[in-house]
């Protein structure tokens, strides 16, 4: 009887985990992530008739990203705070990489990876996630992030370059890359 909900649950709900992963990566707080995902699903349901047979995943993830950005804007408006996440934070990145001492202490490789990725500027973090975890094409990523494909490629390259710190003594790769 309720055709819209049935179709929505068949097409959009399967991407709940992907939506949740993206929200977690973007906002880094589990409870905020849940709020963002719920808001995104509400917007998605309301806009569902506009999907018209297109692939639901990039469409949904773009909505998740927009919900994250509006939640962020709302928080900043309330706190009267300037953006804390600078878009060109590259120089500071090297300073945040673990030095060899603490890297050797860092037994847990997962923690190191998590820290490196958390230290990435958000715009790099999201393209890396969409590429490696969601296995999306450059074109799909460009649609979600609302940037040209060339920008996707350069952000991806920078994000991946930051991961070189995973292998501090990699042969032939000097560590202090800028």
């Amino acid at each position: 009887m309720d055709d819209k909900r049935t179709r929505f649950e068949a097409l959009v709900l399967p991407h709940l985990d992907a939506a949740h992963r993206l929200a977690r990566w973007l906002c880094r707080s589990p409870s905020d992530a849940d709020d963002i995902v719920q808001e995104a699903f509400m917007r998605a349901y309301r806009a569902f008739e506009g999907l018209r047979g297109a692939d639901a995943r990039p469409w949904l993830l773009a909505i998740v990203r927009n919900c994250h950005l509006s939640a962020l804007a709302e928080r900043q408006r309330r706190a009267h705070e300037p953006l804390t996440e600078e878009h060109e934070a590259e120089p500071a990145l090297a300073a945040r990489l673990p030095d060899p001492e603490s890297a050797s202490i860092e037994r847990d490789e997962r923690r190191l990876l998590g820290r490196l990725i958390a230290a990435l500027p958000e715009e790099q973090r999201e393209v890396l996630l969409l590429r490696e975890m969601e296995d999306m094409s450059y074109r799909e990523i460009a649609a979600v992030a609302e940037v040209p494909i060339g920008t996707v490629m350069s952000r991806l390259a920078r994000a991946r370059s930051a991961l070189k710190a995973l292998w501090p003594e990699a042969e032939g790769e000097p560590r202090a890359v800028r």
Partner: protein, 258 residues
Amino acid sequence: MQCAESLRVQAAFDGELDAVSAAAVERHAEHCPECRALLAHLGRSRARVRRDLDYAAASPELRTRIARMLDAEQVAERRAAQPRPAWRARPFWLGTLTGAGAALAASLAAVLLVPLLPGSLPDELIGAHLRSLESGQLTGVVSTDRHTVKPWFAGRADVSPVVADFAGEGYRLAGGRVDELDRQRSAVLVYEHGAHVINVFTFMPGSKPLPAQVSRRGYHIACWRGGDLGYCAVSDAGWDELGGLRSLLQDLAARDTR
């Protein structure tokens, strides 16, 4: 100090190049140590990210929240699609009023008449069920512990219901609240069954007939009696699911009076 081909190498790695360009990149990498190292790094980091970096899947709580949100959206859609009540449906004396006076009287009537003229029991039950879903205020007390929920009703509701969590049987007790029903303060137990919310209203029906099973607007209502108490379970879950909860509550009530 980066090879000019690095972005193309990355694109080849990501499967974004056609076969000819990919082959050209491969040939280039044979002679360019920097791009060979880059390819090795890309492969290692992808494996590492895919192995180590995965946040937990969406929690069951989040799934339930989304199911509830969709319930509320559907309610709102149905309401918006419903035609306004016909003129004749208004009380007869409104027919003598016109214009602003009628609008004022109608709004007053809405305020004054609703509590005095309760609808049928199924309508009241559906109304209370939908309000609880829409407002997001499913529970006045949130607990899966019957020793918390049962005392909470004392002094708040006119009846003292049997309370138990049946999570083992698939019916998780989410909490309780008090709703006006049949001009009484009815005790409502809120259960979650999969993505469905089931409200169980307990009240004193007196000699009022209780419908065993009735459907309204896509929702199901199952009622039964136990002693002088009446129970009505309301949900969009199927009859079998409602029946399962009814059996559990009936067994519990039977044990309770022994």
